[in-house]
C-alpha cells in the first residue's frame, strides 16, 4: 500500500512536471502543442544515448538536455508559431492553427526518432538499487526522479509567483490583449513561456527515462496525459497542474496495482470524462 503510494507520487510528480511545461505553452503562449509528448520522448532518448554512449548520469545530462529543449522550443516558436500568432485574428483561430501545425510537427519528430532509434522499447538501468523507506521498498532511481520533479517544479512556481518576470508571464496568461497596455511585449513573453515549457518537457523526459521503458511512439500518450492534467488543473495554473498531476499518477498506480495495468489509460480517460461533465473549467480554474 505505502509502496504504491510512493510509486504513485513518483509517477504523479513526473506528470506534474511535464504538465507544468504544457500549461506554460498553452496558458501563456496560447499554443496548443500536440507535439509536446514527442519532445518529452526525444529528451528521454537523448538521456539514453548520453548514458549508454558516454556513461553520463541522467542528472548530469539534464545540464545538456534541458538547455537543448529550451533552444529547440525557442526555435520552433520563432520559426513556426510566431507567423501563426501574427496571422490569427483571434485566439480561437490561433488554437486551430497551432493544433494543426504541431500535429504536423509531431509526425516530423516521431519520424526522426524512428529513423535514429527504431521502434523498440528502450530503457537503461541507473541507480536501480532498492531503498527502504518506512518499510516500503522503492528503487533509488524512482526516488531521485521524485526529488528532481519536486525541485524543478518548486523552483518554477517560485519564479512565477515571486519575481517580476513571473508577474509578466501571469499577466499575459490572464489577458494577452491587455498586457501590452502596461508595457509587456506579448510575443517576447510568449516565446519565453513556450521555450521554458520545452525545457520542462526535456527535464520530464530525462526523469521518465530514469525509471520507465519508452518507445518512439509513446509521445502521444504523454501529450494526452499532460493535456488532461492541464485541463484538470485549469489552463495556465501551475498549482493546478501540480495537484492534478499527482492525482493522475496516484490513480494510475492504484489502478495498475489493484485492478489491471492494461486499464490505466482507460482510468485516465474516465477521470477526464467525469471532470468534463462536472467541472469543465478545471479544479483550480475559474468558472467562465
Amino acid at each position: 500500500m505505502f509502496e504504491h503510494l510512493i510509486n504513485g507520487l513518483v509517477l504523479g510528480g513526473t506528470y506534474a512536471l511535464v504538465a507544468m511545461g504544457l500549461t506554460l505553452q498553452y496558458g501563456i503562449a496560447r499554443i496548443m502543442n500536440l507535439s509536446f509528448g514527442d519532445t518529452v520522448i526525444a529528451a528521454a532518448f537523448a538521456a539514453y544515448v548520453l548514458f549508454t554512449a558516454l556513461g553520463l548520469s541522467p542528472l548530469l545530462s539534464l545540464l545538456i538536455v534541458v538547455p537543448a529543449g529550451f533552444a529547440f522550443s525557442y526555435g520552433i516558436f520563432s520559426l513556426i508559431m510566431r507567423p501563426l500568432v501574427r496571422r490569427s485574428a483571434n485566439s480561437e483561430a490561433l488554437e486551430v492553427d497551432s493544433i494543426l501545425a504541431t500535429f504536423g510537427l509531431l509526425f516530423v519528430i516521431q519520424g526522426v526518432l524512428l529513423v535514429l532509434f527504431g521502434g523498440n522499447f528502450t530503457s537503461y538501468s541507473y541507480l536501480n538499487v532498492p531503498v527502504d523507506i518506512l518499510g516500503a521498498v522503492v528503487a533509488l532511481n524512482r526516488l531521485s526522479a521524485l526529488i528532481l520533479a519536486a525541485v524543478l517544479g518548486g523552483a518554477l512556481v517560485l519564479l512565477l509567483m515571486r519575481t517580476r518576470w513571473g508577474l509578466r508571464m501571469r499577466a499575459v496568461a490572464i489577458s494577452a490583449s491587455s498586457a501590452p497596455l502596461v508595457g509587456i511585449n506579448v510575443i517576447q513573453t510568449s516565446r519565453m513561456a513556450f521555450a521554458i515549457g520545452g525545457a520542462l518537457a526535456a527535464s520530464g523526459g530525462v526523469v521518465i527515462s530514469m525509471y520507465q521503458t519508452f518507445t518512439v511512439t509513446s509521445g502521444v500518450v504523454f501529450t494526452m496525459k499532460a493535456l488532461i492534467v492541464v485541463i484538470m488543473g485549469g489552463k495556465g495554473s501551475l498549482p493546478g497542474a501540480l495537484a492534478a498531476g499527482l492525482i493522475l499518477g496516484l490513480v494510475e498506480t492504484f489502478v495498475a496495482a489493484y485492478i489491471d495495468p492494461g486499464l490505466t489509460l482507460a482510468s485516465t480517460y474516465l477521470i477526464f470524462l467525469a471532470l468534463l461533465l462536472l467541472r469543465p473549467s478545471g479544479l483550480f480554474g475559474k468558472a467562465s
Binding site: 501563426l84 496571422r87 488554437e95 509531431l106 519520424g111 502521444v220 500518450v221 494526452m224 489509460l265
Partner: protein, 304 residues
C-alpha cells in the same frame, strides 16, 4: 440535368475501371477511394464547424475490428450494420461528453481516443478472449471492396450535396463562424454538431469495416494506426475542408505521393509528410480550392 449525367458517366467509368486494370491498379484505386471517402466524411463535420477531429482512426479501427471479430458468426451485410451501429454509439457518447464544451476539449479527447480504444481492445482480447490478432476469411476480392467503397463515397457526396441545400448547412456554417451568435439566432448548436459528428463517424466506421477484408490478418496495432488520422486530415485540409470536392481534390495527389513515398522512402515518409503538412497550414490555410477561387476572382478583377 447535365451535371447529373456527367456524374453518372464518371461513376460508371470508375466502376468499370477494375475490370480492365491489373491488380496493382485496382489496389491503388481502392486505397484512393478509401481515403477520398475518409477525407470527405471527415470534412462533413470538421469543415463547417471547424472542430478538428483527430479521431478518424478510432472509428476506422472500430469498423475494421468489428468485421474481424464477427465475420465468421454473422452474414457480411449484417456485420457492416453492426459495425456502423457500434461506430454510431461511440460517436454519440464522445460527442455528448465533449461537443457542448469549447472546441479544444473535443480536440484533446479525439486526439487520445484511438489510443484509448486500441488499449481497451488489446486489454479485452488478452484478458477476456485470450486471442490477440484475428484472421478475416471473406470471399471478397479487391474489386468487390472497391465497388463498396465507391458506393459509399457516392453516398457521402450525395449527403454532402443534399446538406448544402438544407437548413442544417446554414446552421452549421453559423456555428463555425460564431457559436454564440448562432445560439442566439436560435440554432440548437449542440444537437446540430452532435448529429453531424455521428453521421461523419459512422461513415468513417463503415470505411474501416469495408476495407478490413483487405488485410487477412488484423490486430489492434494495424487497424488503429495513427497515420490514417493524419493522412485524412492532411488531405481534407489541402483540398479545403469547407468545400464539397475539396477533400477529394486533396486526396488524389497526397495519396499518390504517400504511395510513392512509402515505396521509396519507407523510413522517412512520416518526416516528409509532417513537413508537407506544416507547409500546407502556412501556405494554403483554407485549401487549394479556396485559393484557386481567390486567384480567379483577382484575375477577373484585374481584367475589368
Amino acid at each position: 440535368m447535365k451535371p447529373f449525367l456527367f456524374g453518372l458517366l464518371v461513376i460508371g467509368l470508375l466502376a468499370w475501371a477494375p475490370l480492365v486494370l491489373n491488380d496493382y491498379g485496382t489496389g491503388l484505386l481502392l486505397g484512393l477511394t478509401g481515403y477520398a471517402t475518409l477525407a470527405t466524411a471527415w470534412a462533413m463535420f470538421s469543415g463547417p464547424t471547424r472542430y478538428v477531429s483527430l479521431a478518424t482512426v478510432a472509428f476506422f479501427g472500430i469498423g475494421a475490428y468489428t468485421v474481424a471479430v464477427l465475420s465468421e458468426t454473422l452474414p457480411y451485410p449484417l456485420v457492416l450494420v453492426v459495425a456502423a451501429l457500434i461506430g454510431l454509439s461511440v460517436s454519440l457518447v464522445v460527442g455528448l461528453a465533449t461537443l457542448r464544451l469549447a472546441g479544444v476539449y473535443f480536440v484533446i479527447f479525439s486526439f487520445g481516443l484511438a489510443e484509448l480504444v486500441r488499449q481497451t481492445v488489446t486489454w479485452y482480447e488478452v484478458n477476456v478472449t485470450g486471442t490477440l490478432g484475428r484472421y478475416i476469411f471473406l470471399p471478397l476480392e479487391a474489386r468487390h471492396i472497391y465497388w463498396q467503397l465507391l458506393a459509399l463515397l457516392v453516398l457521402t457526396l450525395l449527403i454532402g450535396i443534399y446538406m448544402r441545400k438544407s437548413r442544417i448547412w446554414l446552421a452549421l456554417v453559423a456555428v463555425g463562424d460564431d457559436e454564440v451568435a448562432a445560439r442566439h439566432a436560435g440554432v440548437d448548436v449542440t444537437r446540430t454538431k452532435l448529429a453531424l459528428f455521428a453521421l461523419s463517424a459512422t461513415i468513417i466506421t463503415l470505411v474501416g469495416a469495408i476495407q478490413a477484408p483487405r488485410w487477412t490478418y488484423v490486430e489492434p496495432t494495424i487497424v488503429f494506426n495513427p497515420t490514417i488520422s493524419f493522412l485524412t486530415l492532411v488531405m481534407a485540409l489541402l483540398g479545403g475542408a469547407g468545400k464539397l470536392w475539396g477533400p477529394i481534390v486533396g486526396a488524389i495527389p497526397l495519396f499518390l505521393l504517400f504511395e510513392w513515398l512509402s515505396a521509396n522512402f519507407p523510413n522517412h515518409y512520416s518526416i516528409i509528410l509532417g513537413g508537407i503538412f506544416i507547409l500546407i497550414v502556412f501556405a494554403v490555410p483554407n485549401g487549394i480550392l479556396a485559393r484557386l477561387e481567390t486567384l480567379g476572382q483577382r484575375r477577373k478583377g484585374e481584367a475589368q
